[in-house]
Assembly symmetry: C2
Homo-oligomer: 198 residues x 2
DNA sequence: CCATAAAGCTAATCCGATTAGCCGAGCGCC
DNA sequence: GGCGCTCGGCTAATCGGATTAGCTTTATGG
């Protein structure tokens, strides 16, 4: 029954593109409206203000990221899956720094929340990788969080240019992945007492 | 030659406290002025606007963090140093979420930049730890960045409440540290070819 | 004591987000 | 084949916070 031109999805997509181009910090209703050939107030017919727009961009980003990494690990396992995941992840944040930045500060409530669910899908891919390494269920949560910290930290530092990771960044990224790979492949044998208290 | 009451340091300190209390997002000139018993425009005599204030808070945070972790690893080495560092780091970001958030988005240029230098001091502590593990110089950069990603990611997710890490967060944190510790203690023997290309 | 520069203040400006309320266009239905 | 309804856009206005301009006060140091 609608009629017109823009849809909420259009606005969010354009917002994401704009954020990627000019930087998340400078994302503004006015600029977005202009890009869409519309006046700022009109956007409020589609999104519920700037905060809502930001959150929707975060959801979009996390959703896209989830799809990308899911595809990347398809049919792979172990080292192969991890490397492929990492490559896909790195490529995404490099191609879409604005989008990813949107996810960094976003508040996440709990199940049912779109952003939570989208994040959960990404985590599910990570979990699949870890299962492939034979990580026990009781360690899964911890290993998952460790991976998350690593990738999120990388993304955050990378998108914020957080330490002229220019040039040899990729090399460090690969080293990092190699480090995790080794760590995960060493332990499966069994929970032998490698000291671990506090 | 000066005269009065406030100093730039006072303003920054109060801003940091305010950010810790009400959240970095809500840090505003007006609110800060009020807390200092002064009108908003007066703050401009001490800091060069909101962006400058934010950056100074980031510098303060990174500086404090540097001191805290340096103290934590004093006289320790290996696993002990890593654990102590981690504990100090975790305690700092928990006690000062606003401050740390300020560092997350801040732009870092290069040597000479206060924030860069403060970050470098934190990294130096990390490097000291890694040296204690016998990490080779040619891997140092990569190992350093890996640690940085891990801790930064942890901090970012933690301060943003990025996945109800309520309760058992500490346990995961310890697991993460244990994982790194194992990884670092395994390799020193020599760069045997554990696959590492691309 | 007086000249001065720093530190505050008030009033004013700017800008971007947001709200209020009006308007034209397609569409379902009679 | 026209009528009213709803949607999407628009203009004008409001709001709020940051920032600027320019005045005032005060302590200090000569």
């Amino acid at each position: 029954m609608p009629r017109g031109r823009l849809t909420a999805a259009d606005v969010v997509r354009a917002g994401a593109e704009l954020a990627d181009e000019i930087g998340y910090q400078d994302l503004a209703m006015g600029a977005l409206a202009q890009r869409l050939g519309v006046r700022a107030p009109s956007l409020y017919k589609h999104v519920d203000g700037l905060d809502d727009l930001r959150r929707r961009i975060a959801v979009l980003a996390m959703t896209e990221l989830g799809e990308v990494v899911r595809a990347a690990i398809q049919g792979r396992a172990g080292t192969d899956a991890l490397a492929s995941f990492a490559r896909a992840f790195g490529a995404y944040i490099t191609a879409h720094p604005g989008r990813y930045t949107a996810t960094i500060g976003a508040e996440v409530s709990g199940p049912g929340d779109e952003l939570y669910d989208a994040s959960a899908r990404v985590l599910e891919s990570m979990a699949a990788i870890l299962r492939g390494y034979g990580v026990e269920e009781d360690e899964m949560v911890h290993a998952l969080r460790t991976l998350r910290c690593l990738f999120h930290g990388y993304a955050a530092l990378h998108t914020a240019n957080g330490f002229q990771w220019s040039g040899d960044t990729d090399e460090s990224f690969d080293w990092m992945i190699g480090f995790v790979d080794r760590g995960l492949r060493v332990r499966p044998p069994g929970p032998e007492g490698v000291q671990d208290r506090r």
